[in-house]
C-alpha cells in the first residue's frame, strides 16, 4: 500500500475582457446591448458617487469614508447578476453594490455621515445592514441562505468581503456551514490586494484565495475583478447553481483598491506609487468603454449624457441627504429594544 493520491483540486481563473477592450467572444456572457450599456452606466454612477463622497468628507460634511475606486466592475458585475429575490450582505466598502441593488443613494451618504437611518433599506431590495466588523456578516448570509432553503424560496444570498476578511474565524465557520448545509450562497471576495497596510501575500500563504473553497468541499474560482464580463458570468453561474440546489461557490475578484483604505488612512506610508500606476492601466470602466466603442455602443455624446445623468443623480442624493432633519437623540433608546424598558424611560428625560 504505497502513498496514494486520494483527492485533488485545481483552481480556475476566468478572463474575458482585456485592458484593450478586446473580449474572448467564446466566453462572453449573453448580454443585450442595453444590458451592456446599463452595466457601464451603473459603474459610472458608482464612481461618480464615490468621487463626491470623498469630496464631502474633505469638506467635513460626512465622516470617514471607504472608497470603491477601482472596484466598480467587481461590485456592479456581481450585483447585476443577482435577481430581485436574492439578498446581498455588504461589508463597509460595498457602496456600489447596495446602490445598484436598490438602496437610495442619499441613505448611503446619511450612513457615512453618521446617521443610522442610512441603513434603512427599501422593503423589496433585500439588502442587509452594512457590516463593519470584518467577516462577521458572512455568517448572516449563510444563515439567511439556510432559511431560504428551509422555506423553499427561489433565492440566494451574496456575501461580500475582502481579502483580509478571509483570515477571520467567521469566514471559516461561514464557509464550512455553507458547505455542510449546501446553502444557496455565493461568496464574493473582492481581493483588492490590501487590508489597510497589509498586502495580500502577508494575509495568507495560499497562492489564491479562491482555493480556500476546496477546504469546505465546494468550488472556488478566481476572476479578473476589473473585467465586468468575467465577474458577471461567474456570479450568474454561481447564483443559478445555488438556487438550483448545487450549493455555495467562492468567487475571488482579483482587483485593486486605488484609494487609501479610508479617508482616515494614508496609503503612501506603506505602498509604492508604481503599483498603483500599474493598476490604473487595468481600469474596469476604461476597458468596458473601449469594448463598447468597438461595438458602436459608445461615443462622446453618449459619454456626456451618462456623466451628466450620474452627476445629477448624485446632486439629488446630496441635496436629499442634507435636507434630512437631525435625528431625535431619543432614537438611540427607542430602537434598542422593540419597547422601552422602565429604566430607559427614565433615561429619556435626560434628552
Amino acid at each position: 500500500m504505497p502513498e496514494t493520491i486520494i483527492e485533488s483540486c485545481s483552481v480556475k481563473r476566468l478572463d474575458i475582457l482585456n485592458e484593450k477592450g478586446e473580449a474572448d467572444e467564446s466566453l462572453l456572457p449573453p448580454l443585450s446591448d442595453e444590458q451592456v450599456k446599463r452595466l457601464y452606466e451603473l459603474m459610472v454612477q458608482a464612481r461618480t458617487f464615490d468621487h463626491r463622497a470623498l469630496n464631502l468628507q474633505r469638506e467635513g460634511r460626512i465622516g470617514t469614508y471607504a472608497s470603491i475606486l477601482g472596484q466598480e466592475a467587481s461590485q456592479i458585475g456581481t450585483v447585476f447578476a443577482a435577481g430581485k429575490s436574492d439578498w446581498v450582505f455588504p461589508s463597509f466598502r460595498e457602496n456600489g453594490v447596495v446602490f445598484a441593488k436598490g438602496q437610495e443613494m442619499y441613505r448611503i451618504l446619511l450612513y457615512w455621515g453618521g446617521d443610522e437611518r442610512g441603513l434603512i433599506a427599501p422593503d423589496d431590495a433585500h439588502i442587509f445592514n452594512v457590516s463593519i466588523p470584518v467577516g462577521t456578516h458572512i455568517l448572516h448570509a449563510v444563515g439567511a441562505a439556510m432559511a431560504m432553503k428551509y422555506r423553499g424560496d427561489n433565492a440566494a444570498a451574496l456575501a461580500y468581503f475582502g481579502d483580509g476578511a478571509t483570515s477571520e474565524g467567521d469566514f471559516h465557520e461561514g464557509m464550512n456551514f455553507a458547505g455542510v448545509f449546501k446553502a444557496p450562497v455565493v461568496f464574493i471576495c473582492q481581493n483588492n490586494q490590501w487590508a489597510i497596510s497589509v498586502p495580500r501575500e502577508k494575509q495568507t500563504a495560499a497562492k489564491t484565495l479562491a482555493q480556500k473553497a476546496f477546504a469546505y468541499g465546494f468550488d472556488g474560482i478566481q476572476v479578473d475583478g476589473n473585467d465586468v464580463f468575467a465577474v458577471y458570468k461567474a456570479t450568474k453561474e454561481a447564483l443559478d447553481k445555488a438556487r438550483g440546489g448545487g450549493g455555495p461557490t467562492l468567487i475571488e475578484c482579483d482587483t485593486y483598491r486605488m484609494s487609501d483604505h479610508t479617508t482616515a488612512d494614508d496609503a503612501s506610508r506603506y505602498r509604492k506609487k508604481e503599483q498603483v500606476e500599474a493598476w490604473k492601466a487595468r481600469d474596469p470602466i476604461l476597458r468596458l468603454r473601449l469594448f463598447m466603442e468597438k461595438k458602436g455602443l459608445w461615443n462622446q455624446e453618449y459619454e456626456k449624457s451618462v456623466q451628466t445623468a450620474a452627476a445629477n443623480m448624485v446632486d439629488e442624493a446630496e441635496k436629499k441627504a442634507e435636507a434630512v432633519e437631525r435625528a431625535n437623540p431619543s432614537d438611540m433608546l427607542t430602537f434598542t429594544f422593540k419597547t422601552l424598558t422602565a429604566r430607559q424611560e427614565k433615561q429619556m428625560r435626560d434628552f
Binding site: F89, E116, G143, G169, G174
Partner: protein, 320 residues
C-alpha cells in the same frame, strides 16, 4: 397536571412552540439525534426532522451568527451553546450583531432569536463547564437575559423568550436541571420577561437571587422573616419589585453564583444604593463566589456561595 423537572419542562416548551410555529427551528452541537448532551432536545429531531433540528459543525460563532441570519430572514431560531464556558467565541456575534441589529437599522431588521445555554457549578463536570457569566451579557443594551429557577417558570419564560421580538440569552442551571420537580401545565402559558417574583414574603431583609442561587437561598432562610425575590429576568430587571421590598425591609442581601467583582449583584446593589438608599438601615451585602478562576470539581464546593454564608450575610445585615 403532570409534574416534571426542568429538562422536561424546557423540552416541552420547545416542542409546543415548534408545533405552533413553523418558523421556530433549533440549531446547535449534538442537538439532533443525540438530543443534546443534557437531553433538552430529546425527541425533537425525530418529530420535526433535520431541517428544523440542526446538528451543526463545532463552531459557536457559526451557530449564533447563522441564527442571526435566519432571524433576519424571518425565522425564530433557538440556538444552543453546549455549555456557557463555550459561549465566548460567540460573544462578538451576540454583542456586535444580535443586540444591535434593530438599532443599527432603526427597526428595519431585528434578531429575534434565543440563545440557550447551560450554566453554573454543581455537576462536577470538567473545566469550562461550570461558568456563571451572566454579568457580561447584562451590560449589552439590546440583549435580554433570562434565568429560570424552576420547571414551571422555565417553560413559561422560554415560550416568552421565543416569542420576544428581541434577542434573548436563556440561561439554564445544570444543578437545577434534575433537582426540582413541580407541576407544569401541558399547553401554552407564558411567564412575562422583565418581571420578578416574591417567592417568600418577609419583613426583615430583602434577599435578591436568581437561577441556581434561589433554591440555596430558600433553604438558607426558610421559616425566617426574610423576603426572597427571584429576579428571573436579569436584563431588564424588575426594579420596582426590588425597591418596593427594600423600602419595606430596610435591608438588602444579594446572592450570586459568579465571582464577586463585577458580577450582576453589583448592579442590583448599586441600583438600590441609588434609588432606595434612604430606606436602608445598614450595608448592602453581596454573597458571591470568591474572585478566583473557577476551580476544578475538587474545590468547587468551596468556591460558590453556601447556605451557611447566606445565613451569615443575613445575620450581618440584621445587626442594623
Amino acid at each position: 397536571m403532570p409534574t416534571m423537572n426542568m429538562v422536561q419542562a424546557i423540552n416541552l416548551a420547545l416542542k409546543e412552540e415548534m408545533q405552533r410555529d413553523k418558523d421556530v427551528v433549533i440549531l446547535g452541537e449534538d442537538v439532533g439525534r443525540d438530543g443534546g448532551v443534557f437531553r433538552i432536545t430529546e425527541g425533537l429531531f425525530d418529530q420535526f426532522g433535520p431541517e428544523r433540528v440542526m446538528d451543526t459543525p463545532l463552531a459557536e460563532s457559526g451557530i449564533v451568527g447563522t441564527a442571526i441570519g435566519m432571524a433576519a430572514y424571518g425565522l425564530r431560531p433557538v440556538a444552543e451553546v453546549q455549555f456557557m464556558g463555550f459561549i465566548y467565541p460567540a460573544v462578538d456575534q451576540i454583542f456586535n450583531h444580535a443586540a444591535r441589529l434593530r438599532s443599527r437599522s432603526r427597526g428595519r431588521y431585528s434578531a429575534s432569536l434565543v440563545v440557550r445555554t447551560p450554566y453554573g457549578v454543581g455537576i462536577k463536570s470538567p473545566e469550562h463547564h461550570s461558568e456563571s457569566s451572566e454579568a457580561h451579557f447584562c451590560h449589552m443594551p439590546g440583549l435580554k437575559v433570562v434565568v429560570p429557577s424552576s420547571p414551571y417558570n422555565a417553560k413559561g419564560l422560554l415560550i416568552s423568550s421565543i416569542r420576544d421580538p428581541d434577542p434573548v440569552l436563556f440561561l439554564e442551571s445544570t444543578r437545577l436541571y434534575r433537582m426540582i420537580k413541580e407541576e407544569v401545565p401541558e399547553g401554552e402559558y407564558t411567564v412575562p420577561l422583565g418581571k420578578a417574583r416574591v417567592v417568600q414574603e418577609g419583613k426583615d431583609v430583602t434577599i435578591v437571587a436568581w437561577g441556581s442561587m434561589l433554591q440555596r437561598t430558600l433553604q438558607a432562610v426558610a421559616g425566617t422573616g426574610a423576603e426572597v425575590i427571584d429576579l428571573m429576568t436579569l436584563n431588564p430587571f424588575d426594579e420596582e419589585t426590588v425597591y418596593a421590598s427594600v423600602k419595606k425591609t430596610g435591608r438588602a442581601v444579594i446572592v450570586q453564583e459568579a465571582p464577586r467583582t463585577g458580577g450582576f449583584g453589583a448592579e442590583i446593589a448599586a441600583s438600590i444604593a441609588e434609588e432606595a438608599m434612604l430606606y436602608l438601615r445598614g450595608p448592602i451585602v453581596r454573597v458571591a463566589a470568591c474572585d478566583a478562576v473557577l476551580p476544578l470539581p475538587k474545590l468547587e464546593d468551596y468556591y460558590m456561595p453556601t447556605a451557611a454564608r447566606i445565613q451569615k450575610a443575613v445575620e450581618e445585615v440584621m445587626k442594623y
